[in-house]
Each structure stands twice: as C-alpha cells, then as structure tokens.
C-alpha cells in the first residue's frame, strides 16, 4: 500500500485543524445514460431529484446531530426544494403512469450517484451555510451539464427536447444558488477552528 509522504498527514495537531472542506468537485458529471423515450428520460430525471431529496435530508440529519443548526436548516431547505422539483416533474410529465423506483435506486454510469446528489464526504461539522451552498451549486451544475449532454447526444428528439428543458431549468437553479451564495456571508478564514480534541468513546 502506498506510503507516499504526499498522502501522509503528519502531526495530530495539524490533523485537528486542517480538515478543510475542499471545493466540492466531482470529476465526471455522471455520463449520459442511454434512455429509450421521453417517459424513460423523465423517470430518470424524477429519480435524480428524489435521490437528491433523500441525500440532503441525510445531510441535514448529520448536521443536526452535530449541533450545526444553520446548515441543518439549509440542507432541509434544499431537500424541500428538490422535492418540489420532483413533484413538479411527476405532475407535468409522469402523471399518466406514475413510475416505480427500481430497487436500490437507479444505476448511473460507472456506478456513480445521480448527478444532483451531494457527496456526504464533503461535509464538515463546522461548515457554514456558504459551504453548503457550494455543495448545492456543484450539484446543480452537474445536473445542468448532465442534461445538456443528453440534449446534445440523445437519439430520440423528444428526449432531446425534454433534456433541453431540464437543462434550462437546472441552469436557472444554478443561477438561483449563485445568487444565494452572493447573499451569504463568506466563511471566516478560521471557520473550521476547533481547539478541542475529538471525543473518544467505546
């Protein structure tokens, strides 16, 4: 196993203070998946939203358990927003034949999660709303890129059209989150400062 110094973090004190949340990046936006028709496509879009709903809610729980009320509230809000999106898709596109979730959720390419799903690995207990919005922004951006790609590459025209619509909608969301970010105070440079040691247990 690699023991490269580059990977290594020496010194526990450093370990306690340098746990910065990095800019939430994911290498791929989730590659397009082959969709058969518009219903299939919208079903996936709907599922994507639902996965995001579920994830934000989990993140909110995590932050709540760790006494970070501002970020808890924000993730709850994001979860609600995504739920609205999901409901909207259901109502506008899938009302005739309400879809059934496949077990374990849908498969995204290469085993990745849905493009709009936040990575729990990005969390930090001291994070501030600004960080949470960065995470949300990245999610929306990935979603937008995802739909854009489908809009370009799908063979089915109806799918292309629907994807364009979705991409536009996600672009709006990106804009919304960006605005929100602008209104949100930037985190203090020492936002993750915690002079106390971790708790030991068990």
């Amino acid at each position: 196993m690699s023991t490269k110094k580059a990977v290594k973090q020496t010194g526990r004190k450093k370990a306690a203070t340098s746990a910065k949340v990095r800019a939430p990046v994911r290498k791929k936006p989730g590659s397009p998946i082959s969709v058969t028709d518009e219903i299939d496509f919208m079903t996936r879009a709907w599922m994507m939203e639902l996965e995001a709903v579920e994830r934000y809610s989990t993140l909110a729980d995590a932050m709540e358990e760790h006494n970070n009320p501002e970020v808890t509230e924000l993730f709850r809000k994001l979860s609600r927003i995504e739920q609205l999106h999901a409901d909207q898709i259901l109502e506008e596109h899938l009302s005739k034949r309400p879809p059934v979730l496949p077990p374990g959720g849908i498969r995204w390419d290469a085993g990745e999660e849905g493009p709009e799903t936040a990575d729990p690995g990005e969390l930090h207990y001291r994070m501030q709303p600004y960080h949470a919005l960065q995470i949300a922004l990245a999610c929306e951006q990935r979603a937008c890129q995802f739909f854009t790609k489908i809009a370009r590459s799908a063979k089915n025209t109806a799918v292309r059209k629907a994807a364009r619509e979705m991409a536009a909608e996600e672009a709006e969301h990106v804009q919304l989150v960006e605005d929100w970010l602008k209104r949100t105070p930037k985190p203090d440079p020492d936002w993750d400062h915690d002079p106390d040691p971790p708790v030991q247990s068990d």
Binding site: E65, H66, N67, N68, P69, Y125, R126, D190, D192, H193, D194, P195, D196, P197, P198, V199, Q200, S201, D202
Partner: protein
C-alpha cells in the same frame, strides 16, 4: 457585579463551561484551570461530552479552590454556555440550584427547562457577537474572561495563560484573543454575583497540573517499568500515549499489541526476561487478560495491569467513571490465583499507587492489578507535587544459580529467587502447569498444595506497612471506601466535622490480599460502618463481608455511574445515622 460572596476555602467555586463542539469549551476550561493554578489555587477539571466524536455538545466542569480538591462539588455555582444545544443530555451532571447562575448568549436561545426548573438565575451576554466584534477572536475567550471575572480570578493570571498558549506559535491570534478575554472580563462586571474564590498566597511548594492517567504512567516509570504493551481503549489510552515517548526517553519501550491477549502475554514474556512490565486497559480488556493473569500467578511472573475503570458491563459507558471492576479484579481468575489489587485514592495517588504496585509485584513476583477509573484518569488536577517514594521494583534474583537451582523453591517468605535469562546455570522453564519446586510439571497433590500455599504465603507475609490504607479521624461511625469515592467521602466528612460529627475514614489502597487484622485495628471501637462505592451491586461491600470482619452495623451507600457519588449524599447518610 453585586453581592460578592467568598466561597468556602475548601469547597471553592464550581464552574461549568458548555457549548457545542468547536466552541472550544475544553480549551477555555483548561486555561481557566491553569490560570488558577499559576495564581496559587487548587482545582480540577472534568470533561464531559455527547456521543459524537466531533461537533457534539460538551462541557468543561471545574472546581477551583484555595485548598486541595479531589472531586467535583455537588452543585455548580456558575454555568456559562456558548450555546445550549443538546445540553440537556448531561443535565444530570450539572446540578444547579437557586444560588447558581447561568450565563448564556441571548442569540443562542434559552437553556433547556431541565436546567431552569430549579430556579437558577439566568444572565445574558452576547458572547458570539462580542467575539465577532473583535476580528480573529473566539467566543471561548470571551467565556474565559467572564468566568474569571465572576469567580474572582485575576485578569492577569488568565492573560498570561493565553499569552503562553498563543504567544509563541500563533502570534496573530494573541492580540484579538487577549482582547476577547478582556472584553469578557469587563462584561461580567454587570452580571449577578457568584461566590468568589478565597484569596491565596502565592505558594512556594511545587505544584503539578496533570491527569491521573499521566500520574499513573509516571508512577510506573518511577517504579521501574521499562516495557509496556497495550491496546487502545477508552479511558486508558492516554496512559499509553503518555508512556510511549516517555519510555523512549528513559530507555524502555512500548509496543502496541494486536489485542489485549497479546498485551498481557507480551508483558509476561518481557518480565520473564527480567524487565519490569506493565499494561493498561479498561474493563473489556481486563476480561480478556484473565487467562494470562492466571499464568502470571502460576509461573510467578510479576506484571502490573492498570485498569482504568469505566461504566460496565460489556462496552457499557466507555467515557464515564464507575467502580464496577472490583469483582473481576479480585476474583476474575480461574483456579486459586491470589494476586495483588491496588487502588489509588486520588488523582495524585495514581502516581504513588502505581509505583507501589510495581514495587509489590516485583517484590512478590505476582501480578498486580491497579484499579484507577475514568474520573481519575481523565480529570486534570492541580496537586502538590507528590513526595518521592522509595518503592522501586526490585525482584529477588538468583544471582549465581547452580545445577540444583529451584525456581519455585519453598522458601519461608514464599518468594523464590528468580533466575533471569542470560544467567548461566539458572535455566529453568516457567510453567503454568502445576509444578514442583524445580518447575517440572507435576500433578501430585503435595506439589500442588505446596505451591498454592507458597503463593498465598508470599502475599500474606509481606509487610505492606501503613500504605495499605489512608486512615483518618475518630468516632464511632466509620466510612470505608476506596478509589475515587475517597474525594467525596472526605468532603462529606469535612461537612460532618463542621457539624461536630466525628467520622472515621478508611480508604483502602490495598484491596488484595485482604488485611483483616489491620482493618479491625483501624475500626476498633467503631459501631457503625458505612461502605461507599460507585457501582450497582456493592462489589466492594460484598468483598468486605467475605474477607473481613466488620464491627457493628454495616450499611452500603452505592450507585452505579455515570454520576459520581456526591458528598452531600454521604453527608446526609452519616448525619441521619449518627442521630439514630
């Protein structure tokens, strides 16, 4: 600040600093304790926190006093909270009353009902806003200033601690945080009063600030331990963490074992090699060591096992104190396996008791279990530097053994000189099988009995001197206790004494082998005995019944952890009983 009251010298003031993870309440508490220490006060600080590893609710519980203190008080004078989130989870640990004062940040909501219900006053200070107003400063420094001011700790004392903390490494943090401390200090002037610390003279006698875990580690080294193997476990890990670099410095070593079975067998192997050895663990680990402890008894290999007790059974409550490993420590070995069990009776005594344990183990070639606990182990305390002790681990060695060398010779003392590998002519095989004097396996009744007798004899014939117990006071009522209940018992006895009730204290340091004659001597004339311990089934009480003869009427005062036994409970029990 109105109505300044001086706290009783001995009782001191009790302060809790609370807030969610990241708020730095432990750091603030540490600084407060250090400042008090440097300014001449005594004190101690207990950490408590929620189950979350990070970001959970936490509190630093302090007691500062002009006289030495060995436990928390029954109540708090002051609680300062940066926020109140989930603080109800340890409301039990924060007994408040109408005389107490809570200080909170109005922007962080209100304290939970469980804290306010006892009529405790609440004062508001916009702690976070004040910190924000001083860029680069942290709320916990505001809190530190408030606490210092309220209890009457000089501002300078606190500032010098802050300077020491940030002055060297992080200069840019120093100025704003000093300002924060000052701002906090100033803001307290308008707050309701809490009892203030009694004045102290700057003392000349050297003092230490340390935890029981550090003290035990240091005691082990003083006793001569040079090999340690251990497996991490809460709340014992810090002993290993302290010992690891320390051993390297003094010429010994520490191995992290793969499990506790390995730890104990490693130290037995090392001690067979002639090197005084120790391991450190808590209940679950001690249970795993039971089999090999029997080997140490049978093969007569001295080892010391420090058990930092925590809530049990099973995984229990790992980060909280309880005295519930008494039974396993005394009786947890299979077969007839007499051995030593020693309990320190204060944080400072973790040093002495551990050192003594090494000494005894080596002197008698016996395993010794030291029963410390989470309270001792993880509480930071200001103590007078303990006196040097002459207890050094030194075993009887067979210096020039001959062909006829009998490793397990039936000596009068029961101790047989041990040949250390490397010594020509002294080779023998240490064995956990029943053996004869030469160590050759035997299933003869006579050999078995002779060796069992010898192993019992060596423990019973040893002269343990006065160190076997702390005995104090006179009177017809006696309290028998051990370990970390000693502090609250002492407090209770002081209160009783103030009422004119005389009570004897016997705090047993040597739990096994039992010293029934000595105890009878200590209890001569006693008519009522109260046994105080922190566990559910009265393990110590039962042991006293089994192996000692207690005079008069005997009562048991006990409850399990995680809450300590309070002085008040003991005091009440005694006073009530004394009237009957």
């Amino acid at each position: 600040m109105h109505d300044k009251v001086k706290a009783q010298g001995g009782r001191g003031v009790s302060i809790a600093l609370a807030g969610s993870g990241g708020a730095g309440v432990m750091t603030a508490g540490n600084m407060l304790l250090k400042a008090a220490a440097q300014a001449g006060w005594y004190g101690l600080m207990v950490r408590t926190s929620g189950p979350q590893i990070r970001g959970g609710e936490a509190a630093a519980l302090l007691r500062i006093s002009a006289e030495p203190v060995e436990c928390l008080d029954d109540r708090f004078d002051l609680v300062i909270a940066i926020d109140w989130q989930n603080i109800h989870r340890f409301a039990d640990e924060l007994p408040l009353d109408a005389g107490s004062l809570m200080v909170g940040d109005p922007d962080q909501g209100n304290p939970p009902e469980v804290l306010t219900q006892r009529g405790t006053r609440l004062a508001q200070v916009p702690i976070k806003k004040m910190a924000k107003a001083i860029p680069g400063s942290w709320p916990n420094m505001i809190m530190l200033g408030i606490a210092a001011a309220l209890v009457g700790l000089p501002l300078d004392a606190v500032k010098s601690v802050v300077e020491a903390a940030y002055g060297k490494k992080k200069k840019e943090l120093l100025t704003p945080n000093l300002a924060a401390v000052e701002a906090g200090f100033a803001s307290a002037q308008t707050l309701p009063a809490v009892p203030q610390l009694a004045a102290v003279e700057p003392t000349q006698t050297p003092r230490w600030l340390l935890t029981g875990n550090q003290a035990a580690g240091y005691g082990a080294l003083r006793g001569g331990v040079r090999f340690v193997a251990g497996y991490p476990i809460t709340p014992a890990t810090e002993v290993l963490e302290w010992l690891s670099p320390a051993l390297t410095k003094v010429g010994g070593t520490l191995l992290q074992a793969e499990d506790e079975l390995a730890s104990i067998n490693m130290i037995i192997g090392a001690s067979f090699g002639g090197v005084p050895s120790l391991t450190v663990t808590a209940g679950p680990g001690l249970a795993l060591m039971a089999e090999a402890l029997g080997l140490a008894v049978a093969a007569e290999v001295p080892v010391v096992v420090l058990d930092v007790m925590r809530g049990g059974p099973s995984t229990g409550i790992p980060a909280k104190s309880e005295q519930s490993d008494v039974s396993i420590a005394l009786f947890g070995l299979h077969g007839d396996a007499p051995h030593l069990v020693i309990a320190p009776n204060s944080i400072a005594d973790c040093l002495g008791a551990t050192q003594w344990a090494v000494h005894l183990a080596e002197a008698m070639q016996s395993p010794a279990i030291v029963l410390s606990d989470q309270f001792f182990g993880q509480t930071q305390a200001v103590v007078d530097r303990p006196a040097d002790m002459h207890f050094i681990g030194e075993r009887a060695k067979a210096s020039a053994p001959t062909e006829a060398y009998k490793r397990y010779a039936l000596t009068e003392s029961g101790v047989s000189p041990m040949s250390i590998p490397g010594t020509p002519g002294g080779a023998y095989t240490a064995d956990g099988l029943t053996h004869n004097e030469r160590g050759v396996p035997s299933s003869q009744a006579a050999d078995h009995l002779a060796q069992l007798d010898k192993r019992e004899r060596k423990l019973l014939r040893h002269d343990y001197g006065d160190y076997w117990a702390e005995i104090d006071g006179q009177g017809e009522i006696a309290v028998i206790t051990f370990g970390s209940c000693t502090g609250p018992v002492r407090d209770a006895l002081a209160r009783a004494a103030a009422d004119g009730i005389k009570v004897r204290l016997v705090s047993m340091r040597l739990l096994a082998p039992a010293q029934p004659e000595r105890l009878s001597e200590a209890l001569r004339g006693v008519k009522k005995v109260l046994v105080v311990e922190q566990n559910h089934s009265g393990q110590f009480h039962r042991y006293l019944r089994a192996d000692f003869d207690l005079p008069g009427e005997v009562r048991s005062l006990r409850h399990p952890g995680p809450l300590p036994i309070h002085a008040e409970e003991i005091y009440r029990k005694i006073t009530e009983w004394s009237l009957m």
